[in-house]
Symmetry: C2
Subunit: 446 residues, 2 copies
């Protein structure tokens, strides 16, 4: 029976994966890694992250791992927590639109915690990442939209299982050990969307990364756990979704790899990707016309019903909440002309922005059809900006960064260089090398 | 608005609690602590628990905490994980029937991780525990039966919030810090019942204990998190239950304390408490008649519909799974005459037990009325044991250990002494003292 069950089948797919046969998958994984390093390192400009003080201890143990952008190391499991938290802190990290989540900040910290003191090749490291992303997307499809809609944060609830799959792959676990690891990861799956716009959202990424690698490790120690996590009564899929589609879990595994098609969405702006359509629309309006803030009478942001679900703050109280507020993002973009890391700095929202935000309203129009190839599917954003003397309008169905208008490899490298300054040598090393030792050298530099 | 919301109200109840005014509550907490120490120490007889090898490191840091029954210390957060895991390993720890869970193995390890290097009185420690149990029971009532029935493991999914409440109380957090801690604990709430009968079930207790104390600690560092975890859209109660009863969260707080009424259920046998009715029934039959195994034709175990939900194994493959199998427990009790720690040792089930198990069948009879004061409510177990020449029958509506037939203080002490041998001096210290320093001395001995 076990041989025939879903858990057994996906475990077998995981251990038999060979992403190396697809050059694009590995190349994309390298770009994802550069982007992950960039957005994680970017946080070191912030001095105010003190939430782990006196809790996560510095470690001088020989197996400890450096926290990116910080001058100290911590033990390997907690490095996954810390590097996942920092990686997601700015909401500047990559997105996979089919999984409605952020794969890299959960998977890379887990793999880094395992890699820096062991002998893996860089290709093995990247292959494990590809397998993690694949697991994440298949699980999302099997859970269906209901999972996210009920209030779960996919990055965390699904990411933990993806991180355990990637870690198990790297550790060369047996099929049974993988099945056990998936079961342990799933039984630690948590993360509520009500934490969006707070520092606990990035914490989800770190906690899930740590739980994922922990699940893989204790399975290697042969802990006795369920190997029927996707099959038993009250299994993961049934508990976390009202309408799971079980067969999708193992459908078309690696054909093609989710990281190549549709591929990852690298972020141009450090805020919720659901706001990207609106940013593009506003910037396109600003290119064509001069907009005086005082002349704005009102702004309508038109969505299909539910198209703004991730943008949970209509009247944000802090710039941090503003990352999930289309009102805040539009107002700042109009006043500053662009959206950057600075857009979300500070502890309060100033009066001019507050006043402009109050002129913005969301409208849901079920009669407008999204383009067939809209990204994400069935979504669009239309901005109608009413000035005293005219109405400006712009519509976006797939924004900059998404798979139809992706950031190029060059633009990701530029993003890294902008953040890290003189780190071009490092990038060349990452792109050209198959040596795992380069990770040590990266870690000495960032 | 925040001042009026449920999260704010329960946070206020938590910080204003004063269980010291009720001598019984504190006395019961002391007995619970003795029982927790006993069942955790009991595991040290097992040599085969190697799941944390090379993962949770020994720590010689001055703030590290000893793992109970082991000869080493680990860092304070991981001590909560380890001591929670060991505490629940034998399923020999206490139960609160109204919360359908095991409060002590989640709450005590969290409190111990905070207490051994700080200056709290023993009464403060015990008061925090009483507040944790209270939180656990109120949350269970607010979630309703649907939570457990959907497949969640209350000890873990609810325990993590209880542990954060208890920890925050001990740390003297502000109301806002408690609200934040509850939100962080809730967003890490996980644990699936499909892991019952595996080593991952006790792991749930440890993970939740660690997450609970972690939530309390990072809230003290003023992490920015939601303070509306029981109020916002897609809040904890709505996500984790289809039929929550919100108002029950704050109803009759401490009036009386849940630890005094109905009080805790201390376990006589190291297995699922849902099997206790059957054990009592079998032992009562064995007292009255001589039962030759070979003469048994069949055994019927009669429940009200759903009364055996926690007993998920009808044909267990290991003695560990047997802890959740009424078939295994009845068969062993008939052959050995009693149920003890040894009942569940070993890696396989022998032929005689297997053969006897195959003669046992579960029957659900909705026409039989449970006694009005059955424990748990609406449950009973009837055993009909058919021998060649006669039928023996016994019915139990509230088993030994439950609040209507509780183990006495003396019996809990006896349980401790049986397990720990020459530790009577220690018990006297616990019962007589208000000195927190005694914990250090306990830790040197166990």
């Amino acid at each position: 029976m076990y041989e025939e069950n879903l858990t057994s089948k996906i475990s077998k797919l995981i251990i038999s994966s060979d992403p190396l046969i697809n050059g694009t998958a590995i190349e994309n994984a390298k770009i994802a890694f550069i982007d992950y390093l960039a957005v994680t390192f970017a946080v070191s400009n912030y001095n105010n992250i003190e939430v782990f003080n006196n809790i996560l201890k510095e470690s001088k143990d020989k197996n400890s791992i450096k926290v990116i952008g910080k001058g100290f190391k911590t033990d390997s499991l907690n490095s996954a927590l810390y590097n996942g938290f920092l990686g997601h802190y700015l909401d500047f990290d990559d997105v996979h639109e089919e999984s409605r989540s952020h794969p890299s900040v959960v998977i890379f910290p887990a793999l880094l915690s395992l890699s820096l003191h062991r002998k893996y090749t860089f290709y093995e490291f990247l292959s494990a990442y590809v397998v993690g992303v694949e697991t994440m997307v298949k699980l999302t499809k099997a859970l269906g939209d209901n999972h996210y809609n009920k209030g779960w944060h996919n990055t965390s609830t699904i990411g933990v299982i993806a991180a355990s799959a990637a870690s198990s792959y790297l550790l060369k676990s047996s099929k049974d050990q993988v099945a056990t690891a998936l079961g342990i990861a799933a039984t630690t799956a948590s993360g509520l969307r009500l934490q969006f716009g707070t520092e606990v959202k990035p914490l989800h990424a770190g906690l899930s990364s740590r739980s994922g690698v922990f699940a893989a490790q204790i399975s290697l120690n042969n802990i006795k756990g369920s190997r029927e996590v996707f099959d038993s009564q009250n299994n993961y899929l049934d508990v976390y979704s009202d309408f799971p589609m079980r067969e999708k879990l193992i459908e078309s595994w690696g054909e093609p790899w989710a990281i190549t098609s549709p591929g990852l969405w690298f972020k141009k702006y450090p805020c919720c990707s659901a706001s990207y359509h609106a940013i593009d629309a506003i910037k396109s309006i600003l290119k064509k016309a001069i907009v005086k803030i005082d002349d704005i009478e009102f702004i309508e942001v038109i969505y299909p019903p539910g198209g703004d679900e991730a943008l949970i703050y209509k009247t944000p109280q802090t710039p941090q909440q503003g990352k999930f507020s289309v009102e805040y993002i539009i107002a700042k973009c109009l006043v500053d002309g662009d959206v950057t890391i600075n857009t979300f700095n500070g502890n309060s929202i100033d009066g001019e922005i507050g006043s402009l935000m109050s002129k913005i309203r969301r409208v849901y129009d079920p009669t407008i059809k999204p383009e067939k190839d809209a990204i994400p599917q069935k979504r669009f954003t239309i901005i109608k900006l009413k000035l005293k003397d005219k109405m400006l309008e712009s519509r976006v169905d797939y924004p900059l960064g998404s798979s139809k208008k992706p950031l190029t490899k060059g633009e990701v490298i530029q993003k890294f260089e902008l953040i890290s300054k003189n780190k071009d040598l490092l990038l060349k090393e990452i792109l050209d090398s198959n040596e795992m030792t380069l990770l040590q050298s990266i870690y000495n530099k960032i």
